[in-house]
């Protein structure tokens, strides 16, 4: 599903942020990306949704080499990838419903079909009760669930979560990590960047560790 082959990246010539990264993540797998601050976790994830281009090597997503992808096609790649951020990246002045609906607007589905999908997902994530609340008024844990709902609404092949538990309390961090594990069990490939040792203990999974841009550990369980 995701395949990195000798991927390098540098913003300034000679100074590699990522060096010769090679790994694969299968369909329905869950993988932690760990490493100290500045190790290159975010940079690695950005390569997957073509927010950055590698300086060397090949990034292959769902069988397609996206290394030389035309900027025109990037939006179409992103529709198959759900992305969850530490700072949520929601539209704060809109409601939960409107935020989750955004990816569907692009496809211009009919209203009843959309509403049915959204309600089912909000039920599953336990946030149907705040469907019409404005995002600004929600807690961190609730906002992150909304962000996950928005990432999942299109039934993507891949979920990328960059420190999704960074801005929520411990209980919510557990709940969100468990949720992402369940998403993987349903067949979506999940990559989650995190610092949190406890989480990794509670919900064990494969871990890829970076140190100054190099892959130093890959625990294939």
């Amino acid at each position: 599903m995701i395949r990195f082959q000798d991927v390098s990246l540098s913003f300034i010539k000679g100074e590699n942020i990522l060096t010769d990264i090679t790994f694969q993540a299968q369909r329905g797998s869950f993988t932690y990306i760990s490493g100290r601050s500045g190790a290159g976790k975010t940079t690695l994830l950005r390569l997957i949704y073509a927010d950055l281009k590698p300086s060397g090597g090949i990034v292959n997503i769902a069988g397609n080499d996206i290394t030389g992808m035309s900027p025109r096609l990037v939006p179409f790649l992103r529709r198959q990838i759900g992305i969850v951020f530490q700072d949520f990246k929601l539209i704060e002045d809109s409601t939960v419903y409107e935020n989750v609906k955004l990816p569907l607007d692009i496809f211009r589905l009919s209203r009843p079909v959309m509403d049915e999908k959204i309600d089912a997902l909000l039920h599953r994530l336990g946030i149907i009760n705040i469907k019409f609340a404005t995002v600004r008024t929600l807690s961190g844990g609730e906002k992150q669930r909304v962000a996950i709902a928005r990432a999942l609404i299109n039934e993507p092949f891949i979920i990328i979560a960059d420190e999704p538990t960074g801005n929520v309390d411990v209980e919510n961090a557990y709940a969100i990590t468990e949720l992402l594990h369940n998403v993987a069990k349903n067949g979506t490939t999940v990559l989650m960047a995190t610092h949190d040792l406890l989480l990794k203990k509670m919900f064990p999974a494969r871990e890829i560790s970076l140190d100054r841009g190099k892959l130093v550990l890959d625990t294939k369980i």
Binding site: Y49, D51, L52, V74, P75, F76, L77, R78, R79, Q80, I81, I83, K89, L90, I91, E92, L102, P103, D105, I106, R108, R150
Partner: protein, 293 residues
């Protein structure tokens, strides 16, 4: 129908989303559009004025000592020429008085008039500075009996022609410049709107919206702003025109204002709209590029 309504709805949301910014944008856009509209009226008036110029259309024949009767019969003969509209006889005295009143020196010398020639003024249908007819009339009658010299306002005609070209070129140049300024200001205004909505655009970009899909709301917003600004500018223009002419200059508003037909304003509006759509799409595109480091 909903396909059309959705962008409009989104545009209205952006429009009313930040009243301060919207007010600012409309003020700026209205000022620029008002200048273009004033420019349109002035340009039209100048063009109209020169197109209707028939003033310098007389050929003057300077007469030797011939009697008024003889002069009149020559005049009648000239009147048979189809290009000639009227012929007027000026006696020595009349020519003298016209010259005194022109030069403005009040010295009146009863005997001075005899040193001036009598004249025949030949009126023609010449307009727009067409000098060939004037030349041919001049050539035809300058050899007639009793005529010592013939002329027309050759220098003035050619100078007016050059002036007309200069003004036309200036109007076109300034018009083009104004259009560039308008495009640039629309571009800046949309960028201002976009910077405030940077987070929102980032969100759209993440979920895989194309630049066109993202632009639609902002283009719609700019269209609404331009329509409002154009109408506002037009109303201000009418008020200004009325105020300067009727109140300040105290002249009849309707008869003095050479007002371009509505279609001119329609063309200007279409041009403004096109520049707005293009510059806002360019603005959104470059903005999306800049957020994708």
């Amino acid at each position: 129908m909903t396909k059309l309504l959705l962008p409009l709805q989104k545009g209205l949301k952006v429009f009313f989303g930040n009243p301060m910014l919207t007010f600012f944008s409309i003020t700026v856009l209205t000022s620029v559009i008002l200048v273009s509209q004033i420019f349109l009226v002035l340009g039209f008036s100048i063009n109209n004025y020169f197109q209707g110029l028939t003033l310098i259309s007389e050929v003057r024949l300077y007469l030797d000592d011939i009697s008024e009767d003889k002069a009149q019969s020559l005049g009648n003969k000239i009147l048979e020429n189809p290009n000639v509209t009227h012929v007027r006889y000026l006696s020595k005295d009349q020519v003298y008085r016209a010259s005194v009143s022109l030069s403005g020196d009040g010295v009146s010398d009863k005997d001075a008039a005899q040193y001036f020639p009598a004249m025949l003024l030949i009126g023609t249908q010449v307009s727009n500075g067409d000098t060939s007819t004037l030349e041919s009339i001049m050539a035809e009658y300058s050899q007639s009996n009793g005529v010592i010299y013939a002329s027309y306002g050759k220098e003035i005609v050619s100078k007016l022609k050059i002036l007309y070209y200069y003004i036309s070129a200036g109007v076109l140049l300034l018009g083009a410049l104004l259009f560039l300024v308008l495009t640039f200001i629309t571009y800046v205004v949309i960028k201002l709107t976009l910077y405030r909505l940077a987070k929102e655009i980032e969100v759209y970009s993440i979920i895989g919206a194309t630049p066109l899909f993202i632009s639609v709301a902002y283009i719609m917003d700019v269209i609404i702003k331009l329509v409002v600004s154009f109408v506002a500018a037009y109303l201000i223009l009418l008020t200004l025109a009325y105020y300067t002419l009727a109140v300040l200059l105290n002249v009849d508003f309707a008869s003095y204002l050479v007002y371009p037909p509505m279609s001119y304003f329609l063309y200007l509006f279409i041009a403004v709209l096109l520049s707005g759509i293009l510059s806002s799409y360019a603005g959104v595109r470059s903005f999306i590029r800049s957020t994708q480091s």
